[in-house]
């Protein structure tokens, strides 16, 4: 309990620091007022815009103003869409989250069993096949792999829709592309962890007690081997939510990643600001959850 509270406090502090840093950096990266006014605007126009949006106030005041509104869910209005940012992000976030959850699930469901199987028989056929699959995953760029899938499954066999977000079928190929990108690292880490743990003394103790192979593998070995995998998956998950821009572009899934990319190009400050905060919150939440999960898996980590 103390552990959980400590971690939670730490996570909140990190979130605050990230928001502060990103706010400051974005406002230092250029004068937002002249960006909004566009080329050819007079100094008077720019000054008017500056006063209208409150850019003439000290940075700390602007930050405090933004933070208190953000805490109530008000991220301001998009300069480009002239819509509340919260509403703009809301729809797209659900697409990105669906994709992220499906992607990481696909990665874990393929990587962990394959990693365990490879570790049980190192240098066997299954180990080599697993290695091949993971090298392929690491080597193929997502945009290329995505297009190959589209060519095969949408154009040649016409099994899956190539783009859009209409039904669950639209998410199959993006899930595979996104998951396959995260899978090799998870698989290699599972394999390495299992190899390490399988030669541990306590695994021998479990066998000496008369435990069967399945019990030795999954009760005694995997629980200890999976700990680094949990931390890695949390980072991968955060990455998928923030960095699925390529996949979202290929399959025309208009998610939050794609929106962030567009908004940066448009200098749409409130949108970018809100997305950065949300993406960093994802990282923080997943890291926090992985800390809790690891503490549950390994009692030695239950010290604040």
């Amino acid at each position: 309990m103390v552990f959980t509270l400590k971690r939670l406090g730490l996570a909140l502090l990190v979130a605050l620091a990230v928001s502060m840093l990103s706010f400051t950096l974005l406002h230092l990266s250029g004068d937002p007022a002249s960006a909004i006014a566009g080329e050819g605007a007079t100094d008077v126009d720019i000054a008017a815009i500056r006063a209208y949006y409150g850019f003439d106030r000290p940075l700390i005041v602007q930050y405090a103003d933004w933070l208190f509104k953000a805490l109530r869910g008000d991220f301001g209005e998009s300069y480009y869409f002239q819509l509340p940012v919260a509403q703009l992000i809301g729809d797209r976030l659900s697409i990105t989250m669906t994709l992220g959850v499906c992607g990481i699930s696909f990665a874990l469901l393929t990587a962990v069993p394959l990693g365990v199987a490879a570790a049980v028989r190192p240098n066997s056929l299954i180990d080599r096949v697993a290695l091949f699959i993971s090298v392929m995953g690491q080597a193929m760029p997502s945009f290329w792999f995505g297009l190959v899938l589209v060519v095969i499954f949408s154009i040649k066999f016409q099994l899956l829709p190539p783009s859009g977000t209409k039904s669950w079928e639209n998410f199959i190929m993006p899930t595979v592309v996104l998951g396959y990108y995260a899978m090799p690292a998870i698989m290699r880490l599972t394999r390495a962890g299992m190899l390490d743990v399988l030669s541990a003394d306590y695994v021998r103790t479990a066998r000496a007690k008369g435990a069967g192979e399945m019990r030795v593998m999954f009760k005694h070995a995997l629980r200890n081997a999976i700990i680094p995998v949990v931390s890695l998956s949390a980072v991968q998950m955060g990455f998928m939510l923030g960095g699925s821009i390529v996949v979202e572009s290929i399959f025309a899934l208009h998610g939050a990643g794609y929106l962030a990319w567009e908004s940066i190009g448009r200098n749409d400050l409130p949108t970018v600001q809100a997305l950065i905060l949300i993406f960093s919150l994802f990282y923080i939440v997943f890291t926090f959850l992985s800390d809790l999960l690891n503490a549950w898996l390994d009692p030695r980590m239950r010290v604040g």
Partner: protein, 335 residues
């Protein structure tokens, strides 16, 4: 007393890149209920592999053969994995050298102790935990009931080894194998753990194989001794016979290494055996000890006779009594 374990011509080979390592080269012994056999030998002499072979816990790549490997009427060399599993932890159990790492860090002591019983008996979790408490008390752990919820990292090395002993005894085994159970512990704890093991062995009338390189321990607890060198038993017999009248030059060398209170003067050199254990990759001809032996002669490179006295005291040496006859060295010459 009936024989519970008999081993004849047990061999363990490990294929390596540079050839086959003959780690255990044909050893024999047998053990009755209530008896303690001490296997003594230096690192790499095959003691641990012998015990793992009995338990069926050899690494996958190791190949094990035996003319006879029988545990209370069951032929272990032909037993299926399933049958070995049902014996392990129930009728035969093992205590390892490394108490610090032999318990699973992710589970409580209670879980791990109970598991040893739950795997073999149809009892409930409550009953298994009650048995765990009973055994923790038996191995001298105070506040036993409150220990069940503790994790291994919360216990000291000595306590962990006591837990390992309790775990090995959960099923009331007929055979217990202790592989250097005190090597990793503080000297003050070593004696306690050893005493505990011996007391429990007597109380529960188990057969025990104690693997050690501490001859002082052997002299105190063993009924039988087997001295192993380079994968072979070079001398074996009743403890008193071996200690009072060591026959093999290697055994005599080992005994010279122990300081004797009152006899060994301060500052005096303790004995040592020069040289190192030979490589066991490929076939070994003759006596493996001859390179380090001070009474070696030319015929040591050929077949070595296995000499057995009437009381069952066995040794392998070309010399009758392990000593050359007065004129042997002159007539045959040094190798």
């Amino acid at each position: 007393m009936s024989t519970i374990l008999s081993v004849e011509d047990l061999k363990v080979d490990i294929p390596l890149a540079g050839g086959v390592l003959h780690a255990v080269r044909g050893i024999d012994f047998d053990l009755k209920r209530g008896e303690t056999l001490c296997i003594v030998g230096e690192s790499g002499s095959g003691k641990s592999l012998t015990s793992l072979a009995i338990m069926g816990l050899l690494p996958k790549m190791a190949q094990c053969r035996a003319a006879k490997l029988e545990f209370s009427g069951i032929d272990l060399s032909k037993a299926k994995n399933r049958q070995m599993r049902s014996l392990r932890g129930d009728r035969m159990s093992m205590i390892f050298q490394e108490p610090m790492t032999s318990l699973n860090p992710a589970y409580t002591i209670g879980d791990q102790l109970a598991e040893a019983l739950l795997l073999h008996r149809k009892v409930g979790k409550k009953a298994a935990e009650a048995r765990a408490v009973e055994l923790l008390e038996k191995v001298g752990i105070t506040a036993a009931a409150s220990r069940l919820g503790q994790y291994p990292h919360q216990l000291s090395g000595g306590l962990r080894q006591r837990v390992m002993i309790a775990m090995a005894l959960m099923g009331e085994p007929e055979l217990i194998i202790a592989d250097e159970p005190t090597t990793a512990l503080d000297v003050t704890i070593q004696a306690q753990i050893l005493r505990l093991l011996v007391d429990l062995q007597r109380e529960m009338n188990m057969a025990m194989i104690l693997i050690t390189h501490d001859l002082g321990v052997v002299a105190r607890v063993a009924d039988k001794v087997a001295i192993m060198y380079a994968g072979e038993v070079v001398e074996a017999g009743k403890s008193a016979d071996v200690f009072n009248a060591p026959q093999h030059p290697y055994t005599r060398g080992l005994l010279r290494c122990i300081p004797v209170p009152g006899k060994t003067k301060p500052g005096e050199h303790l004995g040592s055996i020069p040289g190192i254990v030979p490589s066991l990759i490929g076939e070994t001809q003759g006596c493996a000890f001859r390179g380090r032996c001070d009474v070696a002669i030319g015929s040591c490179a050929h077949d070595i006779p296995r000499r057995v006295s009437e009381s069952g005291h066995m040794y392998r040496c070309v010399h009758e009594g392990g000593q050359p006859a007065a004129n042997a060295i002159q007539s045959e010459g040094r190798p």
